[in-house]
């Protein structure tokens, strides 16, 4: 059982993901520099949050061309698990590993706060540790986290049960009051067709210890890693 946390110049949640995996979940974890070209030997690859290469263009637009992303693609092709968090989600969308795109928050401002998510799919390898429709609390911290996609893609995501999380109220209701960035259909996280690559804007690695306000994020990593163990 080994996990990799990719480090781009400008990544800044790499250490948080590393510590969550190693210290909270007890997983052997390595940092992988963006110039690396080989991810063989790893079971789970985490693409963390941050501002890869400064993100002065569209977020993730440069990172997709990095050597390590070819290795991430190969890892996914082999059926390995990939989790993109925040900037990592943006990079996966830019790379075409996940559908859709992340654009400027509806309110135009960066937003850092705890939000509520409803678990929409408990069949995936990443979310099978949760209860159906369970409401969990995970913080967000992004300026460009509004998920958008075209109508056919949205239809497909719904039909194939690939929406993993939706923003919701503490009671689990969907309402624009509880949609922190204006994402289409309240989407906070999605899955690829094959079911081994996921991306989400909220930060589960920041919710792996009660001291930080919530440990609801642990289940996500446990699900992915637990499947591999089993």
């Amino acid at each position: 059982m080994r996990a990799a946390v990719v480090v781009f110049p400008g990544s800044n949640c790499d250490a948080d993901a590393f510590y969550a995996l190693r210290d909270e979940l007890g997983v052997q974890t390595d940092y992988i520099w963006h110039a690396e070209t080989d991810l063989r030997g790893y079971d789970l690859v985490v693409i963390p949050g941050g501002f890869s290469y400064g993100d002065y263009l569209r977020c993730g637009a440069i990172a997709r061309f990095s050597p390590v992303m070819r290795a991430v693609q190969a890892h996914a092709d082999r059926g390995g698990f990939v989790m993109g968090i925040c900037n990592g989600f943006q990079i996966l969308c830019e790379s075409g590993l996940l559908p859709g795109a992340l654009v400027r928050n509806e309110g135009m401002k960066f937003a850092c706060k705890p939000v509520y998510l409803r678990v929409e799919n408990t069949q995936s390898v990443f979310t099978r540790g949760y209860q159906p429709q369970q409401v969990i609390q995970i913080p967000i911290a992004h300026g460009e986290g509004r998920y958008v996609c075209d109508e056919p893609t949205l239809q497909q995501l719904r039909e194939e049960n690939r929406i993993l999380f939706r923003y919701c109220s503490p009671e689990g209701d969907l309402s624009e009051d509880w949609n922190p960035n204006g994402s289409v259909d309240f989407i906070a996280g999605v899955l690829n067709e094959r079911g081994n690559v996921m991306g989400m804007m909220p930060h589960p690695e920041r919710a792996c210890n009660r001291g930080l306000g919530s440990a609801d994020g642990c289940r996500l990593f446990e699900s992915a890693l637990g499947v591999l163990v089993g």
């Binding site: 110049p9 800044n12 949640c13 501002f51 400064g54 309110g107 960066f110 850092c112 913080p139 306000g213």
Partner: protein, 736 residues
């Protein structure tokens, strides 16, 4: 250029010739108040650590307080007022960038940012523009570099309309055996320039900071540097990695006065010199003169002093991160800064001429008339309140008291996953230090109005409040960093304010055993509207031995006993409690009188009581009484988690002979509001008696309203929803 005739003559006398243009520029920036502290130095001697450091031969980039045997905490606060007044986004952003560099140049990893901001009333469009863009600048820069912005304070007053204050504070953690110094001890070692290229931005920024703002200040926009947080993030990682090689002997950030400061200060301290070639300096545009290169304040650059023969190790690290690392010269034994362009000497100045020879001025002080008037001001002219509900709602919606959620929602306060008491939930932020059981509590605080009406007491209060905030979380106050924002020091009344405030800060920091370990002076905070309130801001570090014992400020649940802690001999005094208060300003539009005096020893006892009570896990919440007094503290503790309270102010709790406005909204020091398990009340009472304090039960938490009875009558009865609405008014207004 900022030098006066006498200073120019002194330079000629020292040099025994006329200086070259480049040399003159170098003198002008180093002899500015911003770099040379020529006006403030005699007064800063009041700070014990400063005095000791000057005697020992130099003040380092930032102070360090040991956390345990392995690690120490570094912190420093710095102003970026003038740049933010003309270009708020970049001014604030580069303020954050500069202070972060001061931290990691010590070998410390930055772990927190705080800020203290002052603007004119946000109802004015220009002020609102400055406020919005300063916040945006801090948010953009801090979020991008991955350092959490965990706490801060914002205050609005017409006095800051022409000249906002933007003070940024950074905190870092360093292995005690790897602390870096800004020194250049070994002749022959390489002078390595790292980071961004040098551009024409920010030339004479330090001089700009040492003049008052005027109508032409907008034209100084080119003096404001442009920040690149991505570059800063790379510089943090690369520099901390470079230090690990063991090849770096010393380093300094290129902040104010750029390459001039980073060559002369370390060599002056070490008794050495440098010989550098400016053509080796990476530039952003061709054809830059030696003058421009030596004075540029382009951001995200540092100068390293590296062991001869080991340059390649350092260069390799920076190359990995895609950064410049260029040897531009060598340390020499001779105590001279020699600058060449194309091999020709364009400047040659003994380093100490630029630093130690900076003239010192002993300025006049004079007590201003308005202070004498404030001393005589009588509250009798002000009628007592008749509607406490309305008064409370008015206070809660005052931008100075209202929630700053709109601001901190824009800051990433959780990155690095150490923030265990977040903004809005405690009197200070608390970080759990990874790999230890310890926590640090951080707060920045200041009250310009108090300092305006009584500089010495105001200075004391600034330290006392910050320390009390930290102690309310259960942390022992340990050290201070201060940023001293004042008007033109050559005006005797301004220097009187400055000297008084520094005296107050020095007294309080000695009484609390919280030394001033670093700081910054910012004069000339004036505009055509006059000088700002004298505004020292105090950054406070506290240490929690067991972070699990931390305490928040909100009532966490129903059925707890609300307790007021205050000195055993305390009595409400209307005259003192309303002096210079927020209540007087908000409800009566009167700003006069003086803040209530207090005893530093009693205040210190209160901090120690809070730490002890937190250790014994007796506190469910602790919140200090400050702006808006008891009523506002009650409302804030209730709003945080939406738990109301039923309060009865008995004769023991409030001297009924005093006025209701003073009882409810009067501002006195050395008081805190607790909630405790009812079963712990006796233990609290026993404990306070050991510290010369009294504990007065006020009532019970619960319900969804706040009620207060006084003299048997209900004087306040408000649903929490109404309180919250008033408290959110600033954030609601800014979201529109």
């Amino acid at each position: 250029m900022g030098l006066n005739d006498a200073e120019y003559e002194r330079i000629c006398e020292l040099m025994k010739r006329e200086p070259t243009d480049t040399e003159l520029g170098m003198f002008a920036v180093m002899w500015s108040e911003h770099c040379g502290y020529k006006y403030s130095r005699p007064v800063l001697q009041l700070f014990k650590k400063y005095r000791e450091a000057m005697e020992a031969g130099g003040f380092e980039n930032a102070g360090v307080i040991p956390l345990n045997e392995q690690f120490g905490i570094a912190m420093k606060v710095e102003s970026h007022n003038h740049p933010s007044a003309v270009e708020p986004h970049q001014g604030a952003a580069t303020g954050v960038g500069g202070i972060i560099r001061d931290i990691f140049t010590m070998g410390a990893r930055p772990i927190a940012i705080l800020n203290s901001l002052r603007f004119g009333p946000p109802t004015d469009p220009r002020n609102r523009y400055l406020f919005e863009h300063v916040v945006e600048g801090i948010s953009h820069y801090g979020n991008c570099i991955g350092v959490p912005t965990v706490a801060g304070e914002i205050y609005f007053h017409p006095r800051y309309s022409g000249n906002p204050l933007v003070n940024a504070m950074a905190v870092g953690i360093a292995p005690l055996n790897q602390l870096m110094l800004a020194r250049a001890d070994e002749p022959g070692s390489a002078v390595i320039y790292v980071g961004s290229g040098t551009g024409r931005d920010g030339i004479h920024g330090a001089t700009f900071a040492s003049e008052a703002l005027g109508e032409d200040s907008e034209e100084k926009r080119p003096n404001v540097q442009i920040g690149d947080p991505f570059m800063e993030k790379l510089l943090i990682e690369a520099t901390l990695e470079a230090i690990q090689t063991g090849a770096v002997l010393g380093l300094q950030d290129m902040g104010a006065a750029g390459l001039t400061c980073t060559t002369c200060e370390p060599t002056a301290k070490s008794g050495t010199g440098v010989d550098i070639e400016v053509n080796q300096v990476p530039t952003r545009e061709p054809g830059m003169s030696a003058y421009e290169i030596m004075l540029s304040e382009s951001q995200e650059r540092m100068l390293l002093y590296v062991k001869a023969g080991e340059e390649h190790q350092v260069e390799a690290v920076y190359k990995k991160w895609g950064l410049n690392a260029v040897t531009i010269g060598r340390v020499i034994a001779e105590n001279v800064v020699r600058v060449r362009q194309n091999g020709e000497i364009v400047a040659e100045i003994p380093a100490t001429y630029l630093t130690n020879e900076c003239p010192t001025y002993y300025l006049d002080t004079e007590e201003p008339d308005y202070i004498r008037a404030a001393r005589e001001f009588k509250m009798d002219a002000i009628p007592d309140l008749d509607d406490a509900n309305q008064a409370l709602l008015k206070m809660l919606s005052s931008p100075n008291i209202a929630s700053k959620r709109w601001v901190y929602d824009q800051y990433d306060w959780l990155v690095q996953t150490q923030t265990v008491l977040p903004p809005g939930e405690g009197d200070a932020a608390v970080l759990k230090i990874r790999g230890t059981e310890k926590g640090i509590a951080l707060k920045i605080d200041g009250n310009g109005r108090y300092c305006y009406f009584d500089p010495v007491t105001g200075g004391q209060i600034a330290v006392a409040e910050a320390a009390r905030n930290v102690a309310c979380t259960g942390a022992m106050p340990r050290a201070v960093t201060d940023c001293l924002n004042f008007g033109n020091p050559t005006k005797p009344h301004v220097f009187y304010q400055f000297k008084g405030c520094v005296e107050g800060i020095a007294q309080a920091s000695e009484a609390f055993d919280t030394p001033v370990i670093s700081g910054n002076v910012s004069f000339y905070n004036e505009s055509e509207l006059g000088e700002v309130f004298p505004t020292p801001t105090i950054g406070m570090l506290g240490i929690l031995e067991q972070v699990e014992n931390r305490v928040g400020a909100g009532f966490p649940e129903s059925q707890l006993t609300v307790v007021l802690i205050q000195p055993a001999a305390f009595a409400v005094n209307t005259q003192q409690g309303l002096g210079a208060s927020e209540y007087l300003a908000v409800v009566h539009q009167v700003e006069n009188g003086q803040p209530a005096p207090f005893l530093l020893a009693e205040e210190r006892n209160l901090h120690h009581f809070l730490v002890k009570a937190a250790e014994q896990r007796l506190l469910r919440s602790a919140h200090d009484l400050s702006d808006g007094g008891l009523a506002v503290a009650l409302a804030e503790s209730a709003i945080i988690y939406g738990v109301g309270a039923d309060i009865v102010l008995t004769e023991q709790a409030a001297d009924w002979t005093e006025r209701r406005d003073a009882i409810l909204f009067g501002e006195f020091q050395t008081r805190v509001l607790l909630s405790v398990e009812t079963g712990h009340l006796d233990k609290i009472k026993t404990l306070v008696s050991e510290y010369g304090l009294q504990a007065i039960p006020l009532g019970t938490t619960g319900g969804d309203s706040l009620t207060v009875r006084l003299q048997g009558r209900t004087v306040m009865d408000l649903p929490l929803s109404e309180c919250r609405k008033a408290y959110q008014s600033l954030s609601d207004a800014m979201s529109k």
